[in-house]
Amino acid sequence: MAVISRGFGARRRESDPDLPPGQFLTTDFPVLSAGPTPDIDTADWSFTIRDETGETHAWDWDELHALGLEDVHTDIHCVTRWSKLGTHWRGVSLDRLFENVESSYDFTMVHSYGGYTTNVPLEDLLDGKAWIATEFEGEPLDPEHGGPARLLVPHLYFWKSAKWVRGIVMHARDDPGFWEQNGYNMYGDPWKEQRYW
């Protein structure tokens, strides 16, 4: 039986079945980053996937958009306990980017401008589950929210949706990324509350 906090609960919010356990709704879009927001010019931007042979597949800004943007309507859940429901994004499906990538590895390390990394199993990036997102609510993605482009993998806690994304490297093993080395869960399923080590 949990400890009861005397007098708590008067200002409670309505519960919502779309809210994972331990999360609260916000209408803001809070920012969580470990360091400064980088300035990235789309003229200099590129995105690269590298497989175990060292072969790279690369796209510049225009080549990315030529693959076709999809509308994504999704809920997002931050490990710091806020969730936003019904957000609208536009981005390129990772299925398109991985179309010609042949790898026997099952894990990926996602890399960002500024040095951030996060590990995601390959299967969590495929089959319509992840995008390189460049628009949020009809506008180009703000730099503080990861613009010009961030990974969007909304079925995992949002630190997996790496801001300022620049590439993916295939890994044989599930090696830990930045937050995963600093106390946070290797996988991060919000519905199982996989927050910490």
Binding site: V3, I4, S5, G9, V31, A34, T37, F178, R195, W197
Partner: protein, 240 residues
Amino acid sequence: MIVADWQAGTVTDAARATPSGRVLTLDIPSWPGNDPGQHLDLRLTAEDGYQAVRSYSIASYGTGPRVELAVDEVPDGEVSPYLVEDVRPGDELEVRGPLGAFFVWTPAQSEPVQLIAGGSGIVPLMAMARAHHDSGSTAAFRMLYSVRSAPDAYYAAELADLVDEHFALHWAYTRQAPDGWAEPAGRISRALLERVTAPASAAPLVYICGPTGFVEAAARIMVGLGHDPARVRTERFGGA
């Protein structure tokens, strides 16, 4: 660092510190201790079983059982108003932690450090400043603490006592400066940071904590002043 399960605690002190916030002292018998800069999850349970959890930075450090938080009331929040307005000594709650291994300073670090706090963002930096002082560290510490006005500052008297040859403290006021203050009130600027923070040539480790807009601005200015982005660590306060 495997995070333990929820640990029961008791509020032992709840002191009004600013117009919008209080410093809470908790007694958590099973607290495993924490490094300066870490945070915890705090869980409140209503009599009918309703629960809410929020994360708070920790102003204290070291081994338990005494854990100190400073909580700013978020308008329309559900947890922070309880902690700032309602909770009183003897009340019970639960915590989980400590959490986070990145926004941390320990006395084993000897390099120069620049701390930049906005509002209640002082909390994790206070733990670092306390640990720096208590350990007798000779690492060159500088702190810039930006507040709306003097009464909005947490820990003003204690910070003043920390000032010595290894700890420099600078105040910035965004809404109202004290009488006789040399600078008009205003948001932090490049000119201010250039004047009162450690230069990039000293290669300090920079810790910035506060509301998102403050942290974005301060981090951007420090990088513009030549600091290596990889040596600028940030923590944002959202809340509810």
